[in-house]
Symmetry: D3
Subunit: 302 residues, 6 copies
């Protein structure tokens, strides 16, 4: 990690020295709009789609980045260019954007007039060891005590770092099983998303996933739509309930780092026959082909 | 501000140099448990009550501070002792605690085993100029588009800095009136709280405030209960609706910095006769007496 | 009815000739703020309380009456003075106020600048024959299919004449029993109110009624509070469910014309022993004494 | 307006003399079932569709019109025939139906047996000047404080004139911007409708609009479906949130008088690039072609 | 009935002697997972589909049947084989499965370790006389006071015998009309299902039915999907409201015994023209053809 | 258990031979209204209160017991008289009533005219060993995935045996901790009750418990009210959230068999200092005194 340079408000700083003021809105208000993508074979994946979504989040969050989308894209590529030499062939990078409204001095109750947005662009070596076994065994999806906030409180499509709810939810499922992965319900009891990923079910070769009313419109999620079309698998966005997971054939999460994480257990009960299913495997294979990297192999590399 | 030393993980750092890693959970997850109190005449106000609430928040947040309540109290007094000499008699201090679970490296998906909590203790000169006029004119309370998250998503009593919802709400009311103060409704349409304070109504010398089902159990709120008892004014915690504000005699917010901020307008309509009312004034006077400081005068000092 | 003169925008018109333009907001928008009180022994009952509530409704409705509360009170007394000679001793009067924002020409989408509020003050002989038998037998309270709108749609305390929901609800219970009286539930299934009255339960000499979160803060309701205090009966405002009616000892509605209407059946099941109970009778007697009129006798007069 | 004759219960009355009793259910209960259509080039637009919907509303409202659909259609054409000569070529007419259950004497609590429905048929010159500029600039859509009532209180598809909620909502958005147009949310925070029109979004040439679970099934809305099919634009009915408006390319309202009213701003934020978009323009052009009238030109005629 | 042998935990018992301990979980906890199918012309209808659903219910209920699906199918056919000789050609059989977790001694608070599941397999002559007239006249669908429990309390797709809510609902509609059939709403006011069947609407030859979010995924319901496809009738699963029934052309229930039960009245109002409609008739005819039995004739046989 | 005679529809049957038809409404519909009380020192505890509540449940369930309350009380005492000799001094009895509407033949869809209610009266030796340790250590209260049904589906005060929801909930918490005791939340996320008991919190010597909007009005719950008054401890019925448990000093369940079961852990976190608290101990002692039995000692007897 220490080898990476971080772009921080116009300067390049080694990652382990990248610090921001404790009076930044990131810390005092959790007011960070964010994106996170990765490289495949050292090529950033759908970078512009991520940046476009970042600007949609900013619009909804009612503050400005202080840079254009074009400039942010250029800067991101520059950061990656600087850091890439430190990456060996088998290792890919996580690319993270954090934008905050800047300093927010609490004693005045207001953002100071002279405050400038804080822009951070980070690359980090993508260490997938935590998830690596799940490609073979599947993970255990568990619904936490905590429910995702409804859209009228905060639309889950605004990608941000006020993640207290999600982080607490993730802690809760670990009480149930130390390797459990959270699958949050919304306040009406419908499935929504994982702390950092979307969720899909497969039943009779039909793929279903929650609509974006209560979850992020993930780029990995969009990739599933694209791959499913390629594989002639119908995909439906709809309201889903725990019973749908219990009685599904297969289930998986999607997220930037691991792409697809199979789930073979739900709230203590096996999903399907308890093994990673053929549709999930096909989607993983198609994804690997799409990006020219064997995703599972890379994750499981020692 | 620059004169103040900040306690940051065992070290004292000038406020304008106090920085934390961009990989701290504060930034990557908004995972900061917090408190904020102040001094009156340089004496910290109910410091231990604040610290006790901080430990309740930590318990509910399922992570440890790495220090005991006793030690945190001692450290806080030390910080204040160091900084107090820089404060003139008329100026009081804001005292802020931020505790985070420490580093949270995103690429592993997990908090690293060696990660230690981050502890910040801050004092800042309390500049009340932003609110000073409201003591005479009252502010304009406006309900934002955004609704507070329900307790099953995140209990508002856990004082934390994942404040995206509140900050967005505050931006929204500024569109309505640049000096408007947010009064958030919950998802059932009941009054909850301001981005950083509680809300009270007065009708026929009877005080009403939302129960803590959807808002912080503020220490300033508790002070109102104490002062009301002293002034023989009944206080009721109940479900309140916008109609209750429209038809009330008086209204006010409470928060650590300004203590009581009268509201004389609500969603474009005057409250009562549009002036700061007698009950609000009596409560303010009683509070000033309680702490030995003329709260209004201090705020309005040039 | 024909003998009564109606006050209509500054003129006195015989009731059967009192008409308003079909372009008035009353008709095109149901935008009428209203009150309805009565006389006891020819004396208007708590007239000023009704007028004060009318002005609270207007404030919440965001339009002006074009007259002051004082003037409206004077005008009301004048109307009654003019009409009273036509009332024999045994007959009392219903007093109705309707205020609308005036003409609202649909083709422009806006209220025309020159539009003036429409003010109607009506007295009518109070014919209680419809309810007369209920004093002895009690009525049948039935919950309709239709639910009262939640306060975030329209606070039930704003007394108005957009009564489609209530009128439809009342039609529905007549399908069940032609003499049934509606008892609307709110959208969470809690008891709210009748199309024109409040609802009370008696269990073990304890009186309970829904809080005003989902119903009108009726003046007759307030009278019950006053009489109960006089009779040393505790009254509680709380959330009530159908089960509470099924298992109560007694139940009754309150409204301006009939004061108290006992209910002895609920959704097809007897309440208590199926007879009007002692607490209800005592309250009725106390009310008669309060106003110097035998309420039951007057209603049952041929 | 004065030139128009109004059909009122079998008689023809000049519009400015058309009055109904203040004891009509229209006024005492807001119990008016209604329709409103218009002419294009003096030809009534989908008159029978409107009349059919009127009879569906009456069925749901549980009262009778006292005339058949056929007769009402004939009468409407007669009214228009009588009034048409007063309209110059460039001016079209608004056609309004109001049906009420007739007299509803409050003192008896019941609709009198002899009461007959009140039938009003109105034509008025269609003055579109209020909306004319919006065709070029787009309007500002704003979500009011007030939420539309849920269907279990009153199904928004029953077209009626108990419009207190909508009228209040419209007043509220005017506080925000005097030219704002209301876009009501339902009690779950989903987009519903304008006080008198439906709402549409365009994203990537895909049209989306709320399903009729919480809004009128507008005839103009149906026209959009028809024109979109003609233009090969997919239309989807689904649950929509404020975030969808903030991030859409284009947005517009539909209603009888103005057909399509573009919206280029939402809650203070521009929609798309802040200009009326190509899909909206194409739909407007197709509508003009469909009805043989240049809709924008007509509206902007001096 | 007495002629039938019941399979009860490995033994065959005459139906009128089939009894279980009052300490079985069936009685002490209502903990029975169940299925109910029938024969057509003495051939069990989609028996394996029913058994598969039974095992899905058991999985969701978190207890085991103690037999495999294969064995249960075999046993069921054996029961029918034993009983079939007692059935004349015109009479078909109801086939019922009840599975419980077995004894549940209340005094220990726990299911005893030695407790074995209770398995009941029942056939009964299918007496359709109760519904027979409805094929010609249609039934009266009425929404009860009681609302179906939301999926987060108990997913309606888990077919079980804790039917207190449904049975109470059915009692309620009988108060309205002794021959009424319940059509339960969910807690948001949307249509769900009958105490033992699904519900469908027909409007303009388009079939609509609630999605399985709030109702059983009935095998008869699936048969309608299959027949509709055969008849080229589009079917949509969506949220439906009482207004949709009031304004539909046709309506019907589906359930194992009667297959299709037309509804021609809803909450006191005729549906369509008040007669069984052509789409309903066609579906019934297609079903009869599918199973080689004239369903109506069989039901109406003396 | 085998020594006890059960009253079953007028006959006395040994408990292990007490069986009912599998066509009884108890099994086919879960339609059992029930009560469960116990003896203390062989004296039935508040038997008449239990029987009165049983008759309230029956009234709400809309079916008859076929016996009067007086007769049921007499019969219960008879059953106990018969069985008491088999109980040694240290052992008390559980007394259970189950009433069902009787036979409910599924093939007719209706309850047969000749069907008679089924009445069961059971006594069983009260074996408290399962709970015995909890008096010293406290139990672990865990909120299950499943939420209690809202009152508009089935009021929790109607004591019945359609317990699928509760039984499933109890299974769920065992996945978390084999000795966990369920604490169900309602669909708004508020605390309700255990599968068979009420829940109480103690904070600063103030006792709080959910109001009966979402839980049984337990007789043991009423006993706590009575004992608390005796001990001068205020009790409040209110809406409670998980945060209230996390931050309480003490917590306990109440139910007929164990009276009070302390809870010292909640969702993996200690309550208070993790030990059974003084208020809980005092209440237990007062209860023991009230009934003349050392409750803890009896439970822990070998």
């Amino acid at each position: 990690m220490t080898q990476n340079l971080v772009y921080l408000n116009g300067e390049y700083v080694p990652a382990n020295e990248a610090r921001i003021s404790i009076f930044d809105g990131a810390i005092s208000l959790g007011m960070t709009v964010t994106e996170s993508t990765r490289t495949f074979g050292h090529k950033p994946y759908r970078l512009r789609d991520h940046i476009n979504r970042l600007f949609q989040s900013l619009k909804a969050a009612r503050f400005e980045a202080g840079v254009t989308a074009d400039k942010l894209e250029r800067l991101t590529l520059e950061v990656w260019e600087k850091n890439q030499p430190g990456y060996d062939t088998g290792t890919d990078a996580w690319i993270i954007h954090n934008i905050t409204p800047g300093q927010w001095v609490p004693s005045s109750g207001q953002r100071p007039a002279e405050s400038q947005p804080t822009v951070m662009i980070v690359t980090l070596p993508l260490d997938l060891s935590y998830w690596a076994d799940f490609y073979q065994t599947g993970c255990h999806a568990v619904t936490p005590f905590t429910r995702i906030q409804p859209a009228q409180s905060l639309d889950a499509r605004i990608k941000n770092r006020s993640r207290f709810t999600y982080t607490l939810a993730e802690s809760e499922v670990k009480l149930f099983d130390p390797m459990a992965q959270s699958l949050l319900l919304d306040t009406d009891g419908f499935l929504s998303e994982n702390k950092g990923g979307n969720f899909f079910l497969v039943s009779n070769n039909r793929i279903r996933t929650p609509s974006t009313i209560n979850c992020l419109d993930g780029i990995s999620r969009q990739t599933i739509f694209q791959l499913a079309e390629q594989l002639n698998l119908p995909v439906e966005e709809c309201q889903l309930l725990p019973y749908d997971v219990t009685t599904a054939d297969e289930a998986f999460f999607t997220s930037t780092p691991y792409c697809i994480m199979p789930a073979t257990k739900f709230n203590g009960t096996v999903i399907g026959n308890g093994e990673v299913g053929p549709v999930t495997k096909n989607l993983l294979a198609a994804w690997s082909e799409l990006v020219g990297i064997d995703i599972i192999k890379q994750a499981q590399a020692p």
